[in-house]
Amino acid sequence: MNKSKIKVQVNDLCKSFGDLRVLQDCNFTVEDGEFLCVVGPTGCGKTTFLNLLCNLIEPTSGEVLIDGERASPQKHNLSFIFQEPSAFPWLTVEQNIEYGLKAKNHDKIYIKSQVNKVIEIMGLQEYRHSFPGEMSTSAEQKIVIGRAFAMNPDLLLMDEPYGQMDIKTRFYLEDEVVRIWKEFKRTVIFITHNIEEAVYLAERVLVLTDKPAHIKEEILINLPRPRDVTAPEFIGIRNHITELIKWW
């Protein structure tokens, strides 16, 4: 099997705020099209980590490279999904999804086909012309995810997007994101506190330590999809990761 090319390379990344060292010597790579999950104990600096990855803040030392170049929102196509749905309330579902593409000036035919593809995969056909405010929170989050994938980003960063939802809705949305990821084959870094979610979604899991955070362990997950949360292998991995970060 051909070795996939490396999409993201992080070298000796460190970040301090004054005297507070948040991240220390983070080194890892992400392959093109990989679904990577990052977990760590509460307050370990995951959000800072994310902000560094998309160059919203400057590292104290070290670098983040995408396709071999320094990560920058201007050069690279980066998509970010937050915990709160951030769909534009004044645009319809369709307009929301095509927003990123329009902003980067793609041609109309390409935009149309991308948008249609996303709407079909996410099952949003009947909501095409609805506004986000008329829809449920989970549906709104789907719009945001669809919008992000539609742009064919170099890197898609998701910061605990399902944090507040109930388990059933969570599993449903997790299946949705896996589905659209498989279709578009983008590189995804998904950050979460929920270990079960990480094991459910990831091809590989990075486990962070508490502040100053560095990577404790990388765990490859080779389980077939859709994953069974009651399967012994799943439980084994979940328990292992729990052991690594348990503070409660």
Binding site: P41, T42, S136, T137, S138, A139, E160, G163, Q164, M165, D166, I167, K168, T169, Y172, T192, H193, N194, I195, E197, V229, T230, I235, R238, N239, I245, W247, W248
Partner: protein, 254 residues
């Protein structure tokens, strides 16, 4: 030993009248709550669990049906019932100590007395040292502990908890679930805990009442007393029950 019912709900329903029509939040609920049990009310989001809890607390009036405590019907606010809201329920303009002392304050206790009670409960939830802090200086989990201390300070016989850990991240939730069980074990009383998280329900409850989505009805009652404590989230039996309940629960995409 005879199992006494601390609380009984009979034929409870709740209909909200809107300007143009009406909406049925609760269709029909009959429920028995045993003394000193940890009862979990589980249901999908927006199904009406909070409405039911507010009715039991006396903050809302039911459309039909009656509620009995120790066999005697009652209505309205009742000082035997304590309430733990989601974290924004504590007063931002009061310190931790004043927040916890609020029940005794309204009951007319003097400063010395109520601060003593407050201190005891602040120690109970392990927030010693934070008495003079304001809520904005506290983390989510700490704010919730203030809410718990506040409810306990009034020494209620029945404690209602409305998705108290809903705003917390998954790990802090685990920590708080252990906390609430520890506190409950130290002073046993009747607890009714509302949540939409199946894993949390199976971890905490002696029994779980599963509700449907609106109009709300009881879908099933699960007795978990045979599941030994402390429970293990990845234990085979735990996962089996969790799957069973999950299959039965309505998927409501809210």
């Amino acid at each position: 030993m005879e199992i006494r019912n601390k609380l009984e709900l009979r034929n409870i329903s709740k209909i909200f009248l809107t300007r143009k029509s009406y909406s049925v939040a609760i269709q029909q609920v009959d429920l028995e709550v045993r003394e000193n049990e940890f009862l979990v009310l589980l249901g999908p989001g927006q199904c009406g669990k909070t409405v039911l809890l507010n009715i039991v607390a006396g903050l809302l009036e039911q459309t039909t049906g009656e509620i009995c405590i120790d066999g005697a019907p009652y209505s309205g606010l009742n000082n035997q019932i304590g309430f733990i809201f989601q974290s924004i329920g504590i007063m931002p303009w009061l310190t931790v100590r004043d927040n916890v002392a609020i029940g005794p304050k309204f009951a007319g206790k003097n400063k010395k007395e109520r601060y003593e009670i407050a201190q005891k409960n602040i120690d109970l939830v392990r927030l010693t040292g934070f008495e003079k802090h304001f809520p904005r200086q506290l983390s989510g989990g700490m704010k919730q502990r203030v809410g718990i201390a506040r409810a306990y300070a009034n020494n209620p016989e029945i404690l209602l908890m409305d998705e108290p850990f809903g705003q917390l991240d998954a790990q802090t939730r685990y920590a708080m679930q252990d906390e609430i069980l520890r506190i409950w074990n130290e002073n046993k009383r009747t607890v009714i805990f509302v949540t939409n998280n199946i894993e949390e329900a199976v971890y905490l409850g002696d029994r779980i009442v599963l509700f449907s989505s609106r109009p709300m009805q009881v879908k099933g009652v699960y007795d978990l007393t045979s599941l030994e404590r402390p429970r293990d989230y990845t234990d085979e039996d735990f996962l089996e029950i969790r799957q069973k309940i999950s299959d039965n629960m309505d998927l409501v995409l809210e």
